[in-house]
């Protein structure tokens, strides 16, 4: 065995004091996992490309009344709100489909810390996407409606609401992925379930009052449109409880107690 080889084997010198990998580091690792596979990379590139396209189209078409920062931003977050949840789903489910859970949970036995890191990484990705949307919207507004009165009107609370809109979608993806632990069903159901529920609750008169509180299609929409009223906030929270918190709770329970094979 050469000396070069020997250098790589355990030195058996007194081990340096070990520290537990912090949540920050785990989050960075999860962010890395989002982009180091083809699926993740192309998904995010498509989000960026679509966002750019939508901003350009919004800026070049329509009336002056549409060329407001508020409208630009509203349109620009739409691709991310639809596609980023898939990144969130895959961030969880790919560990199961690829059996990398064996590695991940051998390196971090406290599984709840891995789940936390995945949630934080998802929020970080949502924030990054939102900042890009905001930047593109600012540039587009400056380019086509710089002098138009009222074009720049956008209260800080509205900006926050739009981010919350994106963040809910993103965390919802992670939650569905965690609850189902399987890519295809999680992706399909995360689209089909809310839409079906939306249709059903609109068609059946008796369910209409329920739909007003639990239909994501209806309760999420005001977030990007206007400042929420108290009642709208309550409806939003109720929907989030059912569509995000509940699947997430089921998912965490499954992940923490399942046998990793």
């Amino acid at each position: 065995m050469s000396t070069a080889d020997a250098a790589l084997l355990p030195s058996r010198a007194p081990a340096p004091a070990l520290t537990r990998p912090g949540l920050g580091r785990l989050t960075l690792v999860e962010l890395r996992k989002m982009v180091d596979t083809r699926a993740g990379f192309w998904l995010q590139l498509s989000v960026a490309a679509l966002t750019l396209l939508i901003v350009v189209v919004t800026a070049l078409t329509g009336h002056d009344s549409d060329h407001t920062l508020s409208n630009m931003l509203n349109n620009s977050v739409q691709p991310a709100s639809v596609l980023l949840p898939i990144v969130g789903i895959l961030l969880v489910t790919s560990e199961w489909s690829q059996s990398t859970t064996l590695t991940t949970f051998a390196l971090v036995p406290q599984r709840s810390r891995v789940v936390s890191a995945k949630l934080l990484a998802s929020l970080a990705l949502a924030l990054a996407a939102f900042v890009i949307c905001l930047a593109l919207s600012l540039i587009a507004t400056a380019a086509v409606a710089g002098g138009v009165e009222g074009a720049w009107h956008l209260p800080a609370t509205m900006v926050l609401q739009m981010f919350v809109y994106l963040a809910i979608a993103m965390v919802g993806g992670v939650a569905f992925g965690a609850a189902l632990l399987s890519s295809a069903p999680a992706i399909v159901l995360s689209f089909v379930l809310p839409i079906s529920w939306s249709i059903v609750s609109n068609l059946i008169a008796g369910l209409d009052s329920v739909g007003r509180w639990l239909d994501p299609g209806r309760t999420y929409a005001p977030l990007t449109d206007h400042l929420l009223s108290g009642k709208e906030s309550a409806r939003l929270l109720t929907t989030v409880l059912v569509w995000v918190v509940l699947p997430l709770a089921i998912g965490v329970w499954r992940i923490l107690r399942s046998e990793i094979k």
Partner: protein, 312 residues
Amino acid sequence: MIEAEGLTKNYGGKAAVRDVGFRCEPGTVTGFLGPNGAGKSTTLRMICGLTPPTAGSSSVLGMPYARLTNPGRQVGVLLDASAQHAGRTGREALGVSAQLMGVDRARVPELLERVGLERSAAKKRVRQYSLGMRQRLGLAHALLGDPEVLILDEPANGLDPVGMRWMRGLLRDFADRGGTVLLSSHLLREVEATADQLVIIGNGRIVAQGTRDELLAGTGTIVRAATDDAALAKALRAADMDPRETADGLLVDAAPELVGQAALRGGVALRELRAAEGSGLEQLFFELTGDGDSAGGDVSAPTPTPALEATR
């Protein structure tokens, strides 16, 4: 140091692993042997905190695995060579873990080279890897954190003979430097050459364990006549010996010199006369492997041979 005590795992009322206990000391290689489905992988997963045991406990470096500060830097684990994201490159798979454990990223190319994955292979996605390449990547992954303990499930699977020899040398060296190695295998020959300790499991139960030398110690003599085995058997019976036919020749429960003298008295020329190293172990292992298909069922473990029982 690895300790397991009374590890038991039931699936739907059936015991996959029953009361498994053993100890792996620093500086030794322990071979965890058993046919497929005997409960090896389940036991290793329990030790690594991935499968909750129904009963019993285990510890690595003196504490339950889940309480290790930074497991990747303390224990190198390879439970399934295919458990890498198929869409990542080999280098990226190690890179992710290096970042997680806080290991200098310069170790990644070093280790890839060390396990024989050249630069071109490291850039390929794991999907394109052969099983042998995945094993090498898995071994690199296990060594990445410069651990004191290695836990490897069937690491030789898919390796070619050169690769196996290389791995044996690597594990031997790791142990000689004070590391603890626990590796599982379903092939006796594969671990015989590397392990100092053997733990043999069949149908979820430990059927024999001890040092390799104890388990392989003479359990008789193998003898073959130059031409006439029947005459040889007759000569041995005349000396009050009870020869049994095996694939290797006649197995006699007596020391080689006594067997030689008996053959001389019978006037039979010999072609082979040697101590039957580990043929008892092999016999036991054959019985276990024969039962391998029904593992997980209620088939009771074969009775260990007296020689093995004595060493437990």
